[in-house]
Symmetry: C2
Subunit: 274 residues, 2 copies
């Protein structure tokens, strides 16, 4: 992998790397924050999956995670949200194609050749980071909006791969939302039976999660109708899933919401990973 | 003034406002973070002046000040760095004209009609905020790069107006730097006698500052030759000015540097303002 940039941050290093991804069939860019503790020992790794329209950069610059990761001694990786580049399919809409990979493996053209974000995150990028950086093979996962959907679904489908789980304002019930039906239909086809494996509410109802889950949701989020937190909250209650679900008064969907609670989430993961 | 946006942040509110500035002869945009304590009582105000190319937005989204301001109960204002808009003079260079006001009152055309940032910051915007928001008339000032220059020069020229002072990687000796000579010449004319009032090193040598000063400078800053921290450090030592000047190993000129030390600076100001 090639180093794009390195910046000292809170005593550690915020890096951006580029590598040729065989899974996505294109160059992929990602960011990793390594805390100061990583100079002396391998540290656990927190995955932060970003939302629609984001790259690796948004949460890296606006999420405020570095301060807390340095305090707790954990690394944080910020992957991109989709394959990109010339020759990669795209759509004019902000919520389909590049910037909107939805953390699934597309089975339909024109998306299938590159849009393999589920395998990219759970396999290729994971293997690359564990082999190249001073991290333990011990992983927490979180994310915001589409990335919260990614964190919840990847963890619930692969409980052996993740040891801690949280989400910020996740797209919680995509099979019943315009943030979901459009994309799942495009990437996976119209057989809705294939969609359930990518719906946090349905996965939680059926499988639950081995540990406890932290979910923060802004009560003044402008996308509440699309996120459907009420479906996830009901599933948590119905299954008696150990979880902390917080409706945060006055907060919206922005990074001002994410960074206000970044410290709580990093502490949550650190407690379970270290 | 007109509200452009409001976002809940760390229990307080991050707002962006627009107003018709008589000083600059155009609409001006600025951001203010009001901490949760401001709901109950007036709070002190910290001015954060930004650097070349920045608007009100960069430090607001990437500086990480809100968390610390909420903890200490102080408001933070992020002004724009110049007048803007059609009809406002500009230059193709990134370091002259819009985005590069240098916190002076221009006396030369084409800059004179709008580029009055010194008066805008010390008078018009100050009066507006004190009258419109729940803040005490008690002010600290800091800034980054060109904004560090602004903070140091405005405070040393107006000690009665500011009660605490710090800077991040300031342009410390503009009369002897390409970050300075070009702009002071354009805005103030070629008589270098008029420039000294806008040079932190010269002001410090001649007048000093009534209190103590905190300056952070990244030792791996890519602009050390332009910033000239050695001139400021020498002036501090020569005058026996109470100050803490920190060369921070490994840090560059980016917001990763600024937000790594934002907490220290907010605490510094809070201790002197509250």
């Amino acid at each position: 992998m090639e180093t794009v940039s390195e910046n000292r941050s809170f005593g550690g290093v915020q890096s951006v790397y580029k590598h040729a991804s065989s899974t996505c069939g294109c160059d992929m860019t990602f960011a990793v924050y390594m805390p100061p503790q990583a100079a002396n020992r391998p540290v656990p790794l927190l995955w932060y999956l970003s939302g629609l329209t984001c790259t690796h950069e948004n949460a890296m610059t606006k999420g405020g995670f570095q301060e807390h990761a340095a305090k707790h001694g954990i690394a944080v990786v910020f992957p991109d949200t989709s394959p990109r580049g010339e020759g990669v399919a795209n759509d004019e809409a902000y919520d389909l194609g590049q910037g909107a990979g939805f953390y699934v493996n597309a089975t339909r053209d024109p998306w299938k050749p590159h849009f393999q974000m589920y395998d990219y995150i759970t396999k290729e990028l994971r293997d690359l980071i564990v082999s190249e950086l001073n991290v333990q093979d011990r992983h927490g996962i979180t994310g915001h909006s589409m990335g919260g959907h990614g964190a919840l679904t990847l963890a619930m489908r692969n409980p052996e791969m993740y040891d801690s789980l949280s989400a910020f304002a996740p797209i919680a019930h995509p099979t019943r939302s315009d943030w979901g039906r459009k994309q799942l239909s495009a990437y996976l086809g119209d057989d809705e039976g294939c969609w359930a494996a990518h719906d946090s509410t349905l996965l939680l109802e059926e499988h639950g999660w081995k540990g406890d889950i932290l979910v923060d949701q802004g009560a003044s989020d402008q996308f509440l109708d699309l996120l459907k937190p009420e479906a996830l909250a009901a599933a948590i209650a119905k299954r008696r899933q150990p979880a902390t679900f917080r409706m945060q008064e006055g907060y919206d969907h922005s990074y001002f919401f994410v960074n206000s609670f970044a410290g709580d989430h990093v502490a949550w993961h650190a407690e379970r990973l270290t």
